[in-house]
Structure formats: C-alpha cells, structure tokens
Symmetry: C2
DNA sequence: TAATCTTGATTGATTAGTCAATCAAATACA
DNA sequence: TGTATTTGATTGACTAATCAATCAAGATTA
C-alpha cells in the first residue's frame, strides 16, 4: 500500500527512529517503552509506531541498521596505503574521537556496548559496520607499512588493538565511568600521546635514538 | 528475627547471589525474571528470594557489592613501587587477563559494561572497586618510575590508558564482538606485545637487545 | 470519495512482589 | 529418651501494575 506521500512518510519514519535511538540508548531495549519512544519522537500515540514498524524488535533493528554507520571510521579505500604512519594514524584516531563528540555518535557507542553484551546477533551487526571494518582497514595498512619496512614487524592484530585500545578505554572511562581525570585529559592530548607512543615503539627510522629490529 | 542457623542462612544467600549473577549477566537487570533467578540458584520458589533480599534491586546491589571485588587487579600496596617496569606491568596485565579466564570474572566484566552504561550509580560502584582502583595504582607506579628516570615523562593518565587500553579492547573484541582473529590471538601474545610495545616506547635505558643499566 | 494517517482505548500476557499456609529443625520439657 | 513447642524456611497461589501489540473509529489528504 503506497503511502500518501513518500517524503512525509519517510520523514516521519526517521523522526521515530531518532526518538527511538535516544530512548534505546538511555534506557536500554527492554526498559524503553513505546510511550517513551512516542514522546521522544514527538508523536502523540504509541500506536502510531506500529504503522511504521512491525514491532519493537523491528524498530530496534532499523535504528541499528540505519544509524550504526555513524560508527564507521574513515576508510578511504587504498588511498592512504602509502601515506606516512603518523598522518594516517592521527587521522584515524581523530575520526574516532570526533565521532564521540556527536550526540548520536555517543548514543550509538553506548548502545553498542550495552546491547551487544547480551545479544550476539546485535553484536554481529555492530561489529560489521564498526569495529571489524575499522580494525581490518587499519590492520591492512599496518601490515603494508611493515612490508615497506617503515614499521617493526609485530603481530598485526595485536598492533591494531595496541593502537585503538587506548582510545576506546579513554572513551569508556570518560563517558561510562565518569572519571574526573578523564575529563581533564583532553581528546587531543590522548590522540597525540597514543600516536606518539605507538610510533615511538614501532617506527624503524627512529629520530628519537636507535634500536630497531634485528 | 535471627536465622535458624547462621551458616545455612549465609550459604543459601550466597547460592542465590551466584544464580542471580549468572542471570543478570546473561539477561540484564530488567529482563532477568525472578523465576529465572530461582531456577539458576536451584531454589524452588521465586518467593524465597524475598526472604533473603528486600527486592530485585536490593538483590542486584548485593550481587554487585559482593562479587565486584573479583574485578580487582593485583595491588600490593607499595611493595612493587621500586620493581622493574617489565616485571610489574607483566604482572598487572596477567592479572587482568587471568580474571577473564574465570566464569564469574567474565560475567562481572560484561555486567559492568552493560549496566554501567545506563546507570551512573552502578557505574560508580563498579568504578570504585575496578577501573579506578587499578588505574590509580598503576598511575602512581608509573609516575614514580618517571621520577626515578626509568621511564620517559608523559601524561600519566594517558600512559595508564595506553597500557591498559589494548588489553581492555582485546577482551571486548574477543568476548563481546566475537571476532575470529581475537580467538586466535592468545592472551599471552597480547600481554607480551602490549608490555613490549609500551616499554619500547617509554623506556629510557633502552636495552631492547641485551641488558644494561644507564 | 477512497486511501492512508492518527488516535487512544482495549486486550492479553508477563512479572515484581505479597501472603497465608506448610514444613522441618531446633529447643524445652517431662 | 521421647514428645511438644517454637521459629525460621519454603512454597505456590494470588494481586496489582505494566506494557507490547491490536483495533475500530475518526481525521486528513490526494
């Protein structure tokens, strides 16, 4: 059955999705009531949700599928494969930190952590667009740079985690456990420290003082 | 009214707490039903829970308060303040990884992530016994080592996150987003890589091949 | 008019929490 | 020692509330 007006229909659908994202991220899937979602989405009736979505689970799935891409880190195909590690890593780290400065981005990040913990199926969806994608891109890049001899060769999977881990931990500490010292530690400091330390430990042509690979 | 037998009473209380931890960690607070908890705790009636706990929230609070300490990392007072970074950091990292090899430890870790996201009060409790405690201990240690001149001086808060972050990220990727490559990357490799890379980047008397004091 | 859109009342299922009744281990007592 | 009494432990039926989902009726627009 064709809607009265495609644009109006889609706009209202998005409106409900936006409201649902806010409620799901702050309350969790089970505790989010249709009444809450209707209020957050500024529609007057919970019943209306069922005109646009099959049920609560369907709504949740669509929220995830349509809003999760905000969790995607910059991945420019192979454009940056040859670029300097410092440039690429800084860009990558900045991209992650910037994502969290955004209301919807932070909401998705929290929702990803909370919901994925209990629901493997949800975890798989998030993983596909978020962590796995970013990790894979970065791993390929690091492996290539190791091949080029610009970086010491270590386990690439471990290397990716050693780079992204500090940033993930920083965000969790700052946004979930509201640690004061994480508030005073600026994202910029965290980014530069992470990049510096990582490269200090991995760079071969070390302008800091010797010790390379065998 | 005093219980018939203190030991029996406490044993049964612990039995319910154990069951509740399993259900809370796999289902989440809201979706965990008293029936589930009773079954997991091997008691025959959901009603019995109310003989030992005021309500569901009280039960949850006691589960957290009595089982969260399992999340504590080794913190030996000031015993290790003077010890070599490699020794102390390896011990610390091992302690974290070992915690997750334990069924209850993993359950608590997941519960901490999932429940803390929505409930600042719960986050505060977890933070106190877990993250904050470990982070603070490690920060003091690293600052001391920087004072001694054994480590380069960088922002200590950032340093702690640079060290623990990779391990946290590794566990999240392995246990929540069930990434295949995290399965093949052993905890031991992750620990040694993390320690190596961190010290490679921070150690002053860089004896990365051979020994020597500066 | 004819279709979709919107509403809010309703339904049916679920669940946290209560409660009266029963059970069983101690203890008191003969 | 054997019986009665006390008291906490345990049960399962019950209640009151919540909430996802449905539905019929009315509003709106093409």
């Amino acid at each position: 059955m064709p809607p009265r007006d495609d644009q109006d229909y889609e706009a209202k659908r998005q409106q409900i999705i936006d409201g649902a994202l806010q409620v799901f991220s702050s309350e969790g899937f089970e505790k989010a009531t249709n009444k809450d979602i209707a209020r957050a989405a500024r529609i007057n009736s919970p019943g209306l949700i069922y005109h646009y979505f099959k049920d609560k689970t369907d709504l949740f799935r669509q929220v995830v599928e349509e809003r999760a891409p905000i969790l995607q880190l910059v991945t420019h195909g192979d454009d940056f494969m040859e670029s300097e590690p410092r440039e690429v890593l800084t860009m990558f780290a900045d991209s992650f930190v910037t994502m969290m400065d955004n209301r919807a981005g932070l909401a998705m990040f929290k929702m990803m952590l909370a919901e994925s913990t209990r629901k493997p199926a949800v975890a798989a969806i998030f993983n596909k667009v978020g962590p796995w994608r970013g990790f894979n891109y970065l791993r390929r890049y690091l492996e290539h740079q190791m091949d080029l001899g610009r970086l010491r060769r270590i386990d690439p999977g471990a290397a990716v985690r050693c780079f992204m881990g500090p940033l993930v931990a920083y965000m969790i500490m700052r946004e979930i456990f509201v640690q004061e010292d994480a508030q005073s530690l600026s994202p910029e400091t965290m980014v530069t420290t992470t990049v510096d330390l990582f490269l200090y430990g991995l760079e071969v042509n070390r302008n800091h003082e010797g010790a390379g690979e065998g």
